[in-house]
Symmetry: C2
Subunit: 502 residues, 2 copies
């Protein structure tokens, strides 16, 4: 028992309660709140964020953290408490550099911006979103500049990236995306023509939304999303949020003329959700009670979406059910064709609808655009053109309008710059985990027989339960004796796509 | 400009943000949150409630309020600021008497108890809810005892009642319910046999929930619930909540074999919602930014539900639409029969499904039970029997089980003791407002021609816009030169039911 920690505990509890409240408002705004609520709700969120900042950044907390630097005091703490102190130290380090007024203004801005983006996207009108985006970028630049540390950061974007993926700097990401560009871009060009003959016209037929919802609800449950600890509703852009490990929320979005979209979104978000649900109860309500990093989070969601969800073994016991829901649309489509179709590499404008192979190129584009914004000072007005040029260069497609171009992702409206690289890193981590998992589990058999709990158990044991108490590299190292290594990813994709189409 | 108020403003903003967060959690728990979330969420709510208490109850706030007692300082405030200071004074007066630890424990308890009640009610198992109820009552008794003021309260229940309807003590309510018992109970006995022949068997036919939802959504919009400022979802027990006047939420509950239930719930809740939406923007985000009292709130909801919603004039332009949604079930039922049926006085066990005439008897029962709890120390275990005996006495029915008996209402699970009388008071206030409104508006014509905006405008002008800046009696006095007078209610009911059935 440490008296110092007891003192700290009161602040930790307040900070946690205030951040949960903000998360709930964010969820509510994205899924339910009425259109005209924004302005007043944003003020409320601004005040909560201000209190949140004050709960962590104050003299008493600093004093406690200082006292806990002493080994003998730190030694009195339980393991979970030690982890929490370390997390708090990092958090305070980040927050204390931001002037409270700016933090509050930024929080208010964010609370409004998502629905401005939603509206702008609906109308395909970038000009509607541009002024807000410019303000968000201005804040992010300022905040990153406060964090700049010449020992760790060689450019402003490094400081932006650190928020989601500590240790993954532009230097490292350039290396990673260099590999993607070198190895995968030409491979895409090789595979795409070979797969062109795969007929997936069935996907654009009419699929009644009510039936889609029912099937996808079943699917979420099937892969292991526990509806006693979670809910699923709808939003413009599917996402996952978590209040704690027994209250995890995912959303989906349904299209009448796109069957795949909702199916793979739901498996993806369920992957995020299962990660949060499987964090050890010991961490619930603490700063360590969530996934360790965005790359590791995306590793889970993309593991479920692609490695599980786009495999033949997974669909063997399931595909018949899907056909029985949509017999007219799918009656003529066999399992083999379905598998070829859901993996078909098709360069297109939309990231979230991309196949597994072209996906990293979408992320590469966002990475390059964000580098331009933060390191080259490219303006908001230039973004639509830059975006379109890069799509033409890497994917050979030009977005028809801003809705399928620069406006397509929700992330920037929420201030999530520096997040995108995690998607590609996550895919790479997923491939690495997969390689290791196959050595201890009859992976295909588990899928064919619907024994997904064995896969979930493996992930829980080796990844999920640790919450933030171990970082990405520590988890990988513990699991397989090796830190992050993107070569697994290249190998995995090449093998999979060679088998499918070459 | 007052520097003192500026200082106070910071606390008011915090208190408002924290109470909005708690309201959102409460809404979320009742409508969406997963089953297993409760325990952790309750902790979060407990901490938020603790911060809420601290935001208002502290030395600096007391000091500010003291300085604002000086006329010259108070005179510097705008009208809205003055109102807010008065509201804050009352609130602090109430809150400061409660020990912070008890307040937090109570808030945590409430955050869990609604879903325990929901579960218990589903299973009709009072024993599951009894221990929680006992704890809630214990807290309410304690809190009321802290508030006890011999000058205002002649018994403990007086102090309970004050929370919702200041000025309406047991003495006054005994008088009011005495009138109900004296005038209405025998009138009910006279009317019921005469109305027995009205056939409303159509109401228990099968009505597809999807179609009900669509119709009721239209109905909410038709009576004036603005979906740009509000949302409607579902919960076990219909209710209304408001984050501010541009974010008002109502719920409904649908039954496959009861058409009326959802229809009149939705009109009722929309009435509450419209009141909140029409509070003047000047009060938004302040302590005065909501309906002035629970009786006035119920006056609005019951005005919409009964005086508008159960009138022939209202259904004239609408009934055809309802028939077209359910032609098989309603094809043979004419408008006259429908009106007779939706008003048919039928003594039954469920308050929310009661007709307008027997309704006050349901409330009378709750009033008497609550008096027994707070003034006579009746125990939780005795409640089911007492409840059933009173139902037999006043309504001649015995609930088949706890779900349609003592477990039927959500209120006690949320600690809302002392609230029920407001339902009957509200009905009486509604009748009083109606009497006045008819003198300046062609009421029936407005309904027959679907011009409900004129009725809403009248209510806005004379009631809604004031928020909490005028109390119930001030509003009535301003509107018609007379304070609360229940004789309007008796007269209204007798006239209406005489015309319908005698």
């Amino acid at each position: 028992m440490s008296e110092v920690f007891d003192r700290l505990k009161a602040y930790l509890e307040k900070g946690n309660a205030l951040s949960r409240a903000q998360i709930l408002f964010e969820w509510d705004t994205a899924t339910l709140a009425p259109k005209l609520a924004d302005e007043n709700t944003a003020q409320v969120v601004g005040i909560l964020s201000d209190m949140y900042l004050n709960a962590y950044v104050n003299e008493d907390v600093k004093q406690c953290l200082k006292e806990l630097e002493k080994e003998e005091e730190f030694g009195k703490l339980s393991f979970v408490e030690q982890v929490e102190v370390e997390e708090l130290r990092k958090l305070v380090g980040r927050l204390e550099k931001i002037p409270p007024r700016e933090y509050r203004e930024y929080s208010e801005l964010k609370a409004k911006s998502i629905s401005i983006w939603t509206e702008a996207r609906k109308q395909g009108d970038f000009a509607k979103f541009a002024p807000v985006l410019a303000k968000i970028i201005e804040f992010k630049k300022k905040f990153a500049s406060y964090r700049m540390n010449p020992e760790k950061h060689s450019c402003l974007y490094d400081a932006v990236l650190e928020e989601y993926e500590p240790g993954f700097t532009v230097e490292k990401l350039d290396e990673f995306f260099g590999l993607v560009r070198r190895e995968l871009a030409p491979f895409v060009k090789e595979v795409v023509p070979k797969a062109e003959c795969v007929d997936k016209s069935y996907n654009a037929k009419f699929y009644e939304v009510g039936k889609q919802k029912k099937f996808n609800h079943m699917l979420a449950e099937y892969v292991g999303f526990d509806f006693e600890k979670g809910v699923m509703t709808e939003s413009a852009h599917p996402f996952t949020t978590s209040l704690h490990n027994k209250d995890v929320r995912i959303t989906n979005h349904y299209y009448e003329h796109n069957l795949e979209s909702a199916i793979f979104s739901v498996i993806h978000e369920a992957g995020h959700g299962i990660y949060e649900m499987q964090v050890d109860d010991a961490f619930t309500g603490t700063l360590a009670g969530e996934g360790t990093s965005m790359a590791m989070h995306e590793a889970q969601s993309r593991f479920f979406e692609n490695i599980i969800g786009r495999s033949k073994a997974f669909w063997k016991p399931l595909y018949g059910k899907l056909v029985s829901v949509f017999p007219e649309q799918l009656g003529e489509v066999g399992l083999e064709q379905f598998i070829s179709a859901i993996n078909k590499p098709t360069p297109g404008p939309i990231r979230t609808e991309a196949d597994e192979l072209t996906y990293p190129l979408h992320v590469l584009i966002r990475y390059e655009v964000e580098k331009l914004i933060f390191n080259q000072g490219v303006s908001v007005e230039e973004l639509p053109n830059i975006w379109n040029e890069k799509y033409e260069e890497y994917l050979g497609v030009v977005p028809k309008n801003a809705a399928e171009g620069v406006l397509q992702d929700v992330h920037w409206s929420g201030g999530d710059f520096g997040y995108f690289p995690s998607y590609a890193l996550g895919s790479a981590v997923a491939a690495q985990i997969y390689c290791q998992m196959k050595q201890s589990l009859p992976f295909e058999e588990c899928l064919e027989e619907g024994r997904l709990e064995e896969i979930r158990e493996y992930l829980k044991e080796h990844v999920h339960r640790f919450g933030k108490s171990k970082d990405t590299n520590e988890i990988l190292k513990r699991m397989m004796g090796e830190e992050f290594n993107p070569n697994y990813y290249v190998k995995y994709l090449k093998e999979k796509y060679t088998e499918l189409y070459l």
